[in-house]
Symmetry: C3
Subunit: 139 residues, 3 copies
C-alpha cells in the first residue's frame, strides 16, 4: 500500500457548479496506484463538494435555486455580515452539503454511477481560487 | 493491507428507508479482511445513504415527512420535470443527505452506536433497483 | 500500513458547537502513523460532525439559528416526541449534516484550510456524553 498527496486549485467565476470529474480522473491516470481510496477535501467553508447528475443541466439549475431560496442572501437574517451578503449563506450551504468526499478507485477509475459527476459547488458570488486536497491511498 | 470491491443491488419499493446494516455485516463476515475501512457509495443521485436511529420507527416517519415538506413534489417549483414530480425533489434530498459513507470495521463489525443503523434512503415513488458499491480496505 | 482504533468521549453542555480539532491533533501526535486517513464516526444520531469556520463566532451563532428555524423544536410537528421536544429535531439536524468525516493526515497534521475547524455539533438541550470513534489507517 502506498499513498500520494496532491492539491489542485480551481478558479471559480461565481456561484454554481464546476465539474471536477475529468480533472480528478486525469490526475488518477498519472499515478502508479491503481486501486484504492481517493479522499477529497475542500479547504474552505464557503464552497463544497457534491456528487450530482451530469445529464440534464436543469437539475443543477433547480438545485442552485432551491439552496438560494432556503438560505436567502439577506443580511437582516444574519449576524455575520462583514464579508458580504453571500458569505453567511455560503457557510450554511456548505454545512448542509459536503466538505469532504471519499471515493473508491478501481483500475484508475472512480466508481461512479452512469449519471454521476463530482462537482465543486461554489456558494460565493465573486470569483475565488479554491484549494482541494486529493489523497490517494491504495496499491 | 488488502482490498475487496463488491456491488450489491437493493430492490426498493418506493420512497422510504431500507436498512442495509445486516446485509453489509453479512458480507463483511465472509471477507478475510478483519479490520479496515468500508467505503460505501450509492451509484445514483435520486437515492441516498443515511445513518439513523434503528429503534423508534416514528423517527423515520418524521424524517420522511420533514424532507417531503421542505422539498415538495410540485412540478411548478422546478425546471427539471421530465422524469416525474418526484425526480427533482429526489436530487435535492440526495444533495442534502449523503451519496457516500465511510465506516470503520473492527473484528468484522461496523463501528456503530447502539441505536444506529445504515439506511438506503429511497426518494423516488416507484420501485427501483439501486446499485451500491462496497469497498473494503484493511487487513 | 498499520491502523489504530480509538474512542474519545466529549461531555457536551447543551446545544452548540464543540471544537474537536486540538483533541484530534493531540491524539494524532502520539501515534506512530504519520500519514494516512483519519476516519471519524459519531456514535449517535442526535449530534453530528461538521467542518466549519473557526474565526468569527457569529458564523456558528448564525448556523445554529438557521437550523433551529428550519427544524423547530415543536412537538406538534412530530410523532416521535417521547424523548423531548429537542430529540426529533436533533435527528433531522443530524441527517442533514454528517455522522462521519474522513480526513487526510500528513505529517501528523490534519489537512484543513486555514479557517477550518472540526466541530461536534450537539443538537440536544441537556448535557450528554458523546462517543466518537477515531480510526487511523496509514504508515
Amino acid at each position: 500500500m502506498d499513498q500520494i498527496f496532491h492539491e489542485i486549485k480551481i478558479e471559480t467565476k461565481g456561484q454554481g457548479f464546476y465539474d471536477l470529474t475529468k480533472q480528478a480522473l486525469s490526475w488518477l491516470n498519472k499515478q502508479k496506484i491503481k486501486n484504492g481510496i481517493l479522499n477529497i477535501n475542500i479547504l474552505h467553508t464557503s464552497a463544497s463538494l457534491l456528487i450530482q447528475e451530469n445529464a440534464d443541466p436543469d437539475v443543477l439549475y433547480d438545485l442552485k435555486k432551491f439552496f438560494d431560496k432556503l438560505i436567502p442572501m439577506d443580511n437582516k437574517l444574519y449576524k455575520h455580515t462583514t464579508e458580504g451578503k453571500d458569505d453567511m449563506p455560503a457557510h450554511i450551504k456548505s454545512a448542509i452539503t459536503n466538505n469532504q468526499m471519499t471515493l473508491s478507485v478501481k483500475n484508475k477509475k472512480i466508481i461512479l454511477g452512469t449519471w454521476q459527476a463530482l462537482y465543486l459547488f461554489e456558494h460565493r458570488l465573486e470569483k475565488h481560487t479554491r484549494s482541494i486536497s486529493l489523497h490517494l491511498i491504495g496499491n
